[in-house]
Symmetry: C2
Subunit: 364 residues, 2 copies
């Protein structure tokens, strides 16, 4: 299947996602025009070089119209785009695909053959065009979700978009996509919100004991409540099913704990539910598509003052070692921190040698 090159694209909705797509398309040499109901957003996006403001529709011949508006507005905006640009393929960037399709179907049943939903798996806790960047989609999965009536040429146009943005297309049905994001995105979001929400009634003196684990589990709970309400609402059925399942699992662990005596057979049940979590984590694909077990974490002690990270990374870079990830442990009031360098297993010996040569304090 050849992907037709995109020449001209209209982006409706200049928020974080729409503006980032526009920037990525501009980087790929595509002519981009922008529209947003909020003139301030439009001004910012245009000034960032994401594209030009819309000329009259009659002067346009877009191959593709990309709808990047909040979930609750998708249906009417997709339908209007299909009607306004009768030659164009229309896609959207919504987080839930069956609802977007149902909405579009309700508003423009006769024009749906040119509609193909899509969902780039990238984002930010920030929002708005100022947080946009062309690189947001580089190397990321991007779900493309045709419906049975989608024209094959329209699917190809959307896959051209994905390629032009540096992402890779994952073709799925809308229902399959929604099942997947219910599990990998919506369930962890609600679980994080629930755990974080239970901190609201904690004694202040108890929270002083909080560590990095709690911070990681609750980080995404800081996301935008309005956006998340719309997303969950649009994927209510699969999400509700998984939330009930997670709740049942939590109750089950609690019940097991309540009936436990050390040495009783149900200790093994408790252990199994914890071990099952480890098994699940190890199934997640890593960076560059590598399995997590191909990476190793090398902990290095770092004095907590300016310039030390620079010195560390200069020494690592000079050794030709590529760092896949970095984590700095929070140490309130500490004179030193711990930096975890994640590297490919194969380069661990070279890294350790380079660190030792330069006098770094390495552990593990």
């Amino acid at each position: 299947m050849t992907q037709p090159p995109l020449r001209q694209v209209v982006v409706i909705g200049a928020g974080l996602m729409g503006t980032s797509v526009a920037l990525a398309l501009g980087r790929a040499g595509v002519e981009v025009y922008l529209e947003d109901a909020d003139p301030a957003h439009l001004r910012v996006a245009v000034s960032l070089g994401a594209g030009g403001p819309m000329p009259p529709d009659a002067e346009l011949q877009p191959d593709l119209v990309i709808v990047g508006v909040p979930p609750s507005a998708l249906g009417p905006v997709i339908a209007a785009a299909l009607a306004r640009f009768p030659q164009a393929t229309v896609t959207d960037l919504g987080s839930v695909k069956a609802a977007a399709l149902a909405d579009a179907t309700r508003h423009a049943p006769a024009l749906l053959d040119r509609y193909v939903g899509s969902h780039p798996m990238a984002g930010s806790e920030q929002s708005g065009p100022l947080a946009a960047r062309a690189e947001l989609f580089d190397g990321r999965p991007w779900a493309v979700t045709p419906h049975p009536g989608s024209r094959p040429e329209a699917v190809e146009v959307v896959e051209s978009l994905v390629a032009a943005c540096g992402a890779f297309a994952v073709r799925m049905t809308p229902a399959d996509h929604d099942e997947a994001v219910a599990l990998v995105s919506h369930l962890p979001q609600v679980a994080s919100s629930v755990v974080a929400g239970m901190l609201t009634t904690a004694a202040e003196g108890h929270l002083v004991l909080a560590g990095q684990g709690l911070r990681d589990v609750t980080r995404i709970a800081a996301g935008d409540p309005d956006l998340w309400t719309q997303i969950l609402l649009a994927n209510a059925e699969p999400v509700a099913r998984l939330l009930h399942e997670a709740a049942d699992n939590l109750h089950q662990v609690a019940l097991t704990l309540e009936k436990l005596e050390p040495g009783s057979p149900s200790v093994e049940e408790l252990r199994a539910s914890i071990e099952r979590g480890g098994t699940g984590v190890r199934r997640l694909p890593g960076k560059h598509g590598a399995r997590p077990e191909e990476f190793a974490s090398v902990p290095v002690i770092l004095p907590d003052r300016p310039g030390e990270l620079a010195r560390l990374f200069a020494d690592v870079g000079a050794a030709g070692v590529n760092i896949e990830d970095v984590r700095i442990d929070h140490s309130p009031g500490a004179p030193a921190g711990l930096v975890q360098l994640a590297v490919h297993q194969d380069v661990v010996p070279a890294l350790l040698e380079a660190l030792a040569q330069h006098g770094w304090d390495v552990h593990g």
Copy 2:
């Protein structure tokens, strides 16, 4: 209250925690002797310089004996230490304090006045003496949990230990401590395990859509199942109560989703439960005791090749800016990554200027 200086300390259990405490005490000039049921652990800890192997008990006059053994072994080992060293204060490093006290009480009711439990709030997903480091406790909270019969001098000895290790003491009752860690440590651990466990039955094609949020929520689910089984077992009652509450909250969100129609009043309930999570996250104390809102995140685009992080941190360090935290976003197969630099809000302008001067691509 003056804290008496520690002269001689015995550490029983040369795992990650015991060996780290021994290293920290050695750094502070304290004479440390080590004991472990596993000769290989003991050999590694001694070779790391964590202390000497035990001479005959009669040759020792320890101020303090520190018990760093798995939760299930605490009671007998604490009791034996109290009996073997009749002049010494005895503490332990267990994650659950009421159970440790009850165990110690059962095994050595007459000697308990010299026992004061404690719990350093630091650790690692790694285990064993090889992962130990003297800096593990620097700037961290360390719960000190006397019981009503603890001698005041014994409490002072344990607070000397905390200070010598670079941590700060948080004095609590054993029951209060266990309530606190049930919330800030054990609940998020089980929630993470449950979410991660649900990935075990996912279609492989669904997991390709996983992003950073899921990775953060499930990171701690990779912890040691045997250790976590013992910890949860030892704090069963408070943990079970919180797990039931979390489960009820999840069911409630699911039920709200099931009965929702866009525009119905229950949309507000859904939004409130998500917003409550954000409120909870903002209550967590930050690094150096600062509130999270005092920090800002500056996103920088980073080419994915050796040396770029070094160049970035060299430029940041040269500007005199101290980086509080770093996050590198995973971008499978990407030619560029996004680095989030967390810095104190006050230094953002200086940082942005320095980055711009050196041609870094900054967004936000």
